[in-house]
């Protein structure tokens, strides 16, 4: 099946980091990349959700940060002028007081995305990239 090997780049190898404002830990962040050989308009992301250690992260706690901007997950489908370059990681910021405990964590990313040019005979190809990786929190 076309595109499947690109899922390997979805969750970046970078560690998970707690986010501090002065000395207050207001959340944690990790990085993801668009799983394809080329970039995508954010509006092609039809659904995006995250689990950490088996627990779903409520969308209301997540910010998707790219191109110097901060998007709600519910805003992505409207971002048809916002392009995600294939080598640029997006930062996923999860807002939670206290952040995340140091050590290993399982991150699961589930993205449904539309390939916008594949409507050769009508239908667009829609892919589901569902990847779980273990990453270290500092």
């Amino acid at each position: 099946m076309d595109f499947q090997a690109y899922n390997k780049i979805l969750i970046c190898k970078d560690d998970i980091h707690n986010v501090l404002v002065d000395n207050v830990v207001i959340g944690y962040q990790f990085k993801i990349k668009y799983p394809s050989y080329r970039g995508a308009f954010l509006s092609c992301i039809e659904a995006l959700s995250f689990e950490v250690d088996g627990q779903p992260i409520p969308a209301s706690q997540v910010s998707f940060q790219l191109n110097g901007k901060d998007f709600l997950l519910s805003e992505l489908s409207e971002c048809f002028k916002e392009y995600w370059f294939v080598r640029d990681p997006a930062t996923i910021f999860v807002r939670v007081f206290g952040g995340i405990a140091p050590g290993e964590h399982k991150i699961r990313v589930n993205m449904t995305h539309r390939v916008p040019y594949t409507g050769y005979f009508g239908q667009y190809l829609t892919l589901v990239s569902d990847v779980t990786e273990t990453r270290m929190a500092q």
Partner: protein
């Protein structure tokens, strides 16, 4: 000596690019070191800030190509019809994207833009004055699952042979000649849950031109049925060599698509020997791009090794 030259689509190094083993300049250097001259860039892949690249980057792109003695051949664009979930692109949006790509190509020194079938005959025709003013040709890729018999292509050929002659053309991608699934596809199918002996049975049924219903109603699991459906859908209507003669005058460039080669001599999936013999016989002058695409299926394959097999195979046939 032949008039056919072997070039490279830098997209062949997708694995190295997206896994950040090589950047744009590193890929250009690699292409140069391998002996290539003519290059194609897939803008949506390698151009930072695309679809709104800076003039500074476009000038830098031109300078990098010059530094590695590479000839810009083709700037590859898409018609991303489904950018929005609520509707397809409008005519004005398709025109805006296409004119922008013609401009970016010009600024980066490319004499040709390759776009996609979804541009529509009406807009394709409207691009003629832009092509003439900018001195940039516009081509549409004929890619699998399209083939010369798809109705819209009759209209495209009429325009290319008529009012667009010399400026509007097409880029046949050799995927249109593929007759059977490649090794990486089959390996991946096994990794997804196809039983090897069942997969071999499906490949044999496909080779014998059996109907897909034989698999649908047979003793196969869901992933085997899904794989068979894809296989029967994809590789059952390859283009024919005799179709070249009616369209070759419109071919400004060709995509030497391949997925996996384990030797320098032959690919069981795409009939390169026949393709090269026929386009030579018909007097094709121009580039055939080496276009390795196995990266869709397996990121552990060495792109450079694949390209070396392809160059050896093609060179033998071009010089025959």
């Amino acid at each position: 000596m032949s008039d056919i030259k072997l070039g490279i689509s830098l997209y062949s190094f997708s694995t190295e690019f997206i896994h950040e083993k090589l950047d744009f300049e590193g890929i250009c250097k690699k292409a140069h070191d391998m002996g290539y001259q003519g290059v194609e860039i897939v803008a949506a892949q390698m151009v930072p800030e695309y679809p709104y690249p800076s003039d500074a980057w476009l000038a830098e792109c031109k300078a990098i190509l010059a530094k590695y003695e590479l000839e810009p051949v083709c700037w590859s664009a898409y018609i991303d019809m489904g950018i929005r979930g609520d509707r397809d692109l409008t005519e004005d949006e398709i025109i805006q994207f296409t004119v922008n790509d013609l401009i970016y190509a010009k600024k980066a020194g490319f004499p040709m833009v390759r776009t996609q079938h979804a541009i529509s005959p009406k807009i394709f025709r409207q691009m003629i004055p832009y092509c003439k003013q900018l001195g940039v040709k516009l081509t549409i890729e004929m890619h699998h699952p399209h083939h010369p018999e798809v109705p819209v292509w009759k209209e495209y050929f009429e325009i290319m042979k008529g009012e667009g002659k010399g400026w509007l053309g097409f880029v046949p991608d050799f995927s249109i000649f593929q007759t059977m699934p490649h090794k990486l596809y089959l390996d991946q199918a096994i990794s997804f849950g196809c039983r090897p002996e069942k997969l071999a049975e499906i490949v044999e049924l496909h080779r014998q031109k059996a109907d897909y219903s034989v698999v649908a109603n047979g003793d196969f699991n869901d992933i085997e049925k899904h794989t068979a459906e894809e296989m029967f859908g994809k590789f059952s209507a390859p283009a024919k060599m005799e179709q070249w003669k009616d369209m070759i005058d419109c071919a400004f460039y060709m995509h030497g698509k391949f997925y996996y080669l384990d030797n320098d001599d032959h690919d069981p999936c795409i009939p390169f020997e026949e393709i090269v013999a026929e386009v030579k016989r018909l007097g094709y002058k121009g580039y055939i791009a080496s276009e390795y695409e196995g990266h869709h299926f397996d990121e552990t394959i060495d792109s450079e090794e694949q390209l070396r097999h392809f160059v050896a195979l093609m060179t033998k046939n071009i010089e025959k």
